[in-house]
């Protein structure tokens, strides 16, 4: 493998392999940013991976009051799934259980896409006949009376079929603290990139997986090649200097959004340097045959 370094950090000549997905976005507003984010965080809980959660979701960016439809602070949430039906189901249940219930919330379309998904159209029946439909400015809204006033919700939001899920990079460091420091820097940088989310806890994955396993029925199992405790026992990808690996996984509205997010994340890790952060950066792939999108690290370096 060709050696490539930036600021003393070794960059593997490899690529992240990602897949085409369906995605939607909504804007949640509330009287304060705290409560807009609370609704969004609740809605995007248990949404780390489509394998076990049905969808992948997280807050994309915060939106200042001057830029939201109703003039209150808000945030944009993105939700990714493999199919339109599953995406609709996840959107509806999460909206109904987590956003409708959150104090002072309102919800608007966050994406103009090739197709539409029901938003307020599926929740309006909660109004039990007292829901109010309003159409103006080319948009359709539902107003549902609730105990703190009204839940205002746009009827539909958009769906994109151009979304990409599974952009990633691996941060290999001398110890767990340094791996986490590097990953946190990367997450902070990627949070600023519009159209890209990191669905795992705080944006970070510690249990990277490989395809399959020794037990029947396991679709994925631990990525033993990157587990430091197994170095020497298995065919390890880790050198003697590496004692912790963390992964950052990125889903994006478009191919470009994922590339921009990876670029921002890599730059942040490289700027932090090897003494305080990662010694080496790698990426996860399946040999290039499964995913349509390949992000070569060497193309995304600062």
């Amino acid at each position: 493998m060709q050696e490539l370094t930036r600021n003393g950090i070794t960059i593997d000549d490899t690529f992240a392999e990602a897949f085409g997905m369906r995605a939607t976005a909504i804007i949640i507003t509330a009287p304060t940013l705290k409560w807009a984010r609370q609704a969004a965080i609740t809605m995007t809980g248990f949404a780390t991976s489509v394998i076990g959660c049905g969808c992948e979701a997280a807050i994309d960016i915060d939106i200042p009051a001057s830029k939201t439809p109703d003039g209150r602070p808000g945030c944009r949430v993105m939700i990714f799934a493999m199919g339109t039906d599953e995406l609709q189901k996840q959107l509806k249940t999460r909206l109904g259980q987590c956003v409708l219930t959150s104090p002072g919330s309102a919800c608007f379309a966050g994406l103009q896409g090739s197709a539409s998904l029901d938003l307020g159209s599926s929740l309006r029946y909660f109004g039990d006949g007292w829901q109010v439909s309003k159409k103006f400015g080319g948009k359709h809204y539902w107003r549902v009376p609730v105990m703190d006033g009204e839940f205002l919700c746009e009827a539909k939001t958009g769906l994109t079929k151009e979304a990409v899920g599974g952009g990633n990079f691996l941060l290999l460091a001398a110890d767990a603290g340094k791996a986490l420091a590097a990953a946190e820097r990367a997450v902070a940088a990627i949070e600023k990139v519009p159209g890209a989310i990191m669905p795992f806890p705080g944006g970070i994955v510690r249990s990277g997986s490989k395809v399959g396993g020794k037990y029947k029925g396991m679709m994925a199992s631990t990525n033993d090649a990157y587990a430091p405790t197994l170095r020497g026992v298995v065919k390890s990808a880790l050198g003697p200097d590496i004692n912790a690996v963390l992964e950052v996984v990125i889903d994006g509205e478009t191919n470009d959004a994922v590339a921009a997010a990876m670029r921002a994340g890599l730059k942040a890790v490289i700027d932090l340097g090897p003494r305080r952060g990662a010694l080496r950066i790698s990426a996860g792939n399946y040999g290039g045959k499964l995913g349509k999108f390949h992000y070569h690290l060497k193309d995304l370096l600062p």
Binding site: T29, D70, G104, V132, F136
Partner: protein, 270 residues
């Protein structure tokens, strides 16, 4: 291309039916053919060329240079393009309109925007009775689109409307939203007696509390909801108002409880 312009020669001696002079009807016609179109309503065969000097070629952009209270049915059933009237119009301007823009720079007579379906009507002056309302025998009035009256509107504005928005910027007569089925009426300034009488659903949004509110409307108190800010923003973006109408905590009355009772009257100041 220059707008197709109808310049009024003299005040017409009879009421005119101008429903034929719309972008849809005039598309592809030559000036000579247009000049022969009948516009009179009496037994005399009055043609467009007798009343107007006709210039320009772009039938999708029609201008009436000079208006009259005898110009009836301007923009009837138009679906696209624009008509601008530099002057007054008579009855039923924009009736059953389905798209495009009708701009009237003077006053409008009765039933402007009657049963319109879509599109936009702007009236700079006053409008007569029955803005957006139904004709006799029709089950419902306006079913979509936007009417802006920058002057005062007459009685029964938005009668039996189902959808769409009517904005009346210098107040209106009695019974605004009479028998309203749904939709939105915005009014600033003095609103006449019993707005929303027999309304089933829909919103009447005012800056001030109406002087005489029907007793079948009940006080819902001051509401703290997101909708007014969203709608105020729409009104300002559309250039209908230059400052918020309802504000953050409008007063709300629900009604008309003589019928379904799912409508509302909201206003900023009590």
């Amino acid at each position: 291309m220059t707008p197709l312009t109808f310049t009024l020669r003299n005040e017409p001696e009879e009421r005119l039916d101008l429903s034929g002079l719309t972008p849809d009807r005039l598309a592809g016609m030559t000036p000579a053919e247009i000049a022969k179109l009948r516009v009179g309503t009496s037994r005399r065969p009055v043609a467009a060329g007798d009343i107007f000097k006709i210039t320009g070629t772009d039938a999708s952009n029609i201008v009436f240079s000079g208006g009259s209270g005898r110009f009836d049915r301007v923009g009837t059933e138009m679906t696209a393009g624009r008509i601008r009237v530099a002057g007054d119009v008579g009855a039923r301007a924009g009736r059953r309109m389905a798209g495009g823009l009708l701009k009237i720079e003077g006053k409008a007579g009765v039933q402007a925007g009657s049963s319109m379906k879509n599109g936009r009507i702007e009236i700079d002056g006053d409008a007569g009775e029955g803005v957006g309302g139904p004709m006799a025998g029709e089950i419902h009035g306006m079913s979509g689109g936007l009417v802006i009256v920058r002057g005062k509107a007459g009685d029964r504005a938005g009668e039996r409307m189902r959808r769409g928005i009517i904005a009346l910027l210098k107040g209106c007569g009695d019974h605004a939203g009479l028998g309203m089925i749904a939709g939105t009426i915005v009014a600033t300034g003095r609103v006449g007696r019993y707005p929303g009488h027999l309304m089933k659903r829909g919103s009447l949004l005012f800056d001030l509390k109406p002087a005489e509110l029907s007793p079948t409307f009940v006080d819902c108190g001051r509401v703290e909801i997101a909708f007014p800010a969203l709608f105020d923003r729409y009104l300002m973006e559309e250039g209908i108002l230059d400052r918020p109408l309802l504000g953050p905590r409008p007063f709300r009355f629900g009604g008309d409880n003589a019928v379904l009772g799912k409508g509302e009257i909201m206003f900023a100041r009590g």
